[in-house]
Amino acid sequence: MIELKKRVLCLAAALCLAASLLLVGCEQKETIRVFNWGEFIAEGVLEDFEEETGIQVIYSEYNTNEDMYNKLKTTSYDVIVPSDYMVQQLIEEDMLAELNFDNIPNYQYIDPQFQNTPYDPENKYSVPYMWCTLGILYDSEKVAEPITSMTAMWDPQYEGRMFMMDSMRDTIGITMKMLGYSVNSEDQAELDAAQAKLIEQRPMLLGYVTDEIKDKLISGEAYLGLAYSGEAGKAMEEKESLAYCVPEEGTIFSIDTLCVPKNAQNKEGGEKFINFMHKPDIAARNAEEMLYGIANTEGKKLLPEEITSDESLYPSDEVMARSELMAVSKEINEKNEAVWQAVMSAN
């Protein structure tokens, strides 16, 4: 037994030594630390960046904005990919560095539609990466007709076959849009109306889930469910009969952005990375593989026609005009929370 322990110790020591040698080896080269969502970059892009710039990328992934935020408090990164509301929170907490746009000439390609956003009104801290919409993922073989409106999720014929999202702002927000109100409304009467709608819907639902919605539709458990377009795309690849629609009443869209945190050790390297991601061909490669909306006007021209004409990926201008980004404030949060609490404890 002692023999075994000794061996394990030896092995551990050897590994530590090897790891430290490896790290020392890295220090010769310029490196950047990139912290991105899981499965959120096209294959080979990192390698191409390393080849073109000679900067080595230390790459790691996260699954939620909140995970990233907590990790960022203790670890230094040079590039992070927070979503819109998280950018706002990071700016408020002084955790983002102001970008030097001399290093990001490709910013000229950014679609003006995604500039001067409420979360970063002066475009000082963030560069849009890709965007997606919230909509209805459904099984086209199980529904009577193609889904176009959010009201389908109140249709009694789909009772016991639907999931809403276990995410307060998304579920309440899209209901507010259906009723013709703003996602970010603080008007109590409007919120009360959404609350009544959601309580009315509750008995017809199987439940409220987030990522599991993919599995629920693929297994046939549900016919309709709320999902973000990126997730929906992945599900559609796995099951032919699945389809995705952006409700005609308008929806919530979300922008994932490229930012450099305050604690970056190689800010310039991070900016070079951001610039590289917006070379039109690279932006197009990412958008094509992820099936996310592209924020790069030149890159969009390089995308195949069947992608850019797909209204579930690129909704019409009218629908986009009716759609909104989520804004975050203590007041909105508290009002939404009261609605959510009432919906969640209704019978």
């Binding site: 909140e66 995410s167 199987l206 969640m344 404890s345």
Partner: protein
């Protein structure tokens, strides 16, 4: 006395990973974030918790945990008795079978039930295959409170059986024999000897089931489809979605006080009984 230094690492460990986090929870629980981001002392979080909407969640959690504990006890006590029977040849195998599922992660085991219990799951498919159910019909096993209680009982039953089993196997057989020599029948032996002597096991079983049941959030999220909100879900939402660590910490503190009280109650009961056992 010279052994004292051995304890140092453990003291350091407890301070770092138990005391400090606990103090942080207390700090967050008794403060709120002001508009400029600074923290000020306040009881607002507790006032918010003690309103009907949240108290309902609180009572629901206690109630479901209570039901689960009772069901576990009703199922677990006889099971422990059977297992501790010395005439049982496969005793070791049985205990092993009980313990093996616990080597697997709780989430994995709970997700596995989805595959079985879903409307399109294996059980419903089988029932349709043998024509108990018609085409397109299904029994709704999931997404309601019954499923949540079921999940709790399934996951925590071993925590009830094992402590009772271990007390029962250690029971001094000569006491039982003495009772039988004095003419007690099976029921009397059970009622007067076995049951009182197994109470410490029952008490720790109850604690070990009740505490995880009242704090769980994974089981209600997965099997209840988040339609059933328990305290654990409420706390998780404060940290994961609301970014309101203060309220989340306050709920955790209330929960901790409840657990401490119930454990204090249990352990005082255990001691009394140990005294009784000596007589």
């Amino acid at each position: 006395m010279n052994k004292k230094w051995y304890a140092q690492p453990y003291i350091l460990w407890s301070i770092l990973f138990v005391v400090v986090p606990l103090l942080l929870v207390v700090y967050f629980g008794f403060t709120t974030k002001t508009a400029d981001g600074s923290m000020v002392f306040s009881l607002e979080n507790f006032q918010k918790f003690f309103t009907p909407a949240y108290l309902e969640v609180f009572l629901r959690s206690l109630w479901y945990a209570f039901i689960s504990t009772v069901v576990c006890l009703l199922l677990g006590y006889p099971a422990a008795m059977v297992l501790s029977n010395r005439n049982l040849k496969s005793q070791g195998t049985m205990v092993l079978l009980l313990v093996i599922p616990m080597w697997m992660n709780l989430l994995l085991r709970t997700y596995a039930w989805l595959t079985l219990l879903e409307n399109e799951g294996l059980i419903n498919q089988f029932l349709r295959f043998i024509h108990v159910l018609g085409e397109g019909e299904s029994i709704q096993f999931l997404y309601h409170d019954g499923a949540v209680v079921f999940g709790m009982v399934y996951n925590f039953l071993p925590f009830m059986i094992l402590p009772i089993y271990s007390v029962m196997t250690k029971l001094d057989q000569s006491v039982v024999e003495a009772a039988e020599d004095l003419g007690a029948n099976w029921w009397h032996v059970f009622r007067r000897v076995r049951l009182p002597l197994s109470i410490p096991g029952v008490m720790s079983g109850i604690t070990m089931v009740f505490v995880p049941a009242v704090t769980t959030f994974a089981i209600s999220a997965i099997l209840g489809g988040n339609k059933v909100t328990l305290l654990g879900n409420l706390i998780e939402r404060q940290f994961g979605q609301m970014n309101n660590w203060n309220f989340g910490s306050a709920i955790s503190l209330v929960l901790m006080v409840i657990i401490l009280l119930s454990m204090g109650f249990m352990s005082s009961y255990e001691k009394e009984n140990e005294g009784g056992g000596l007589l």
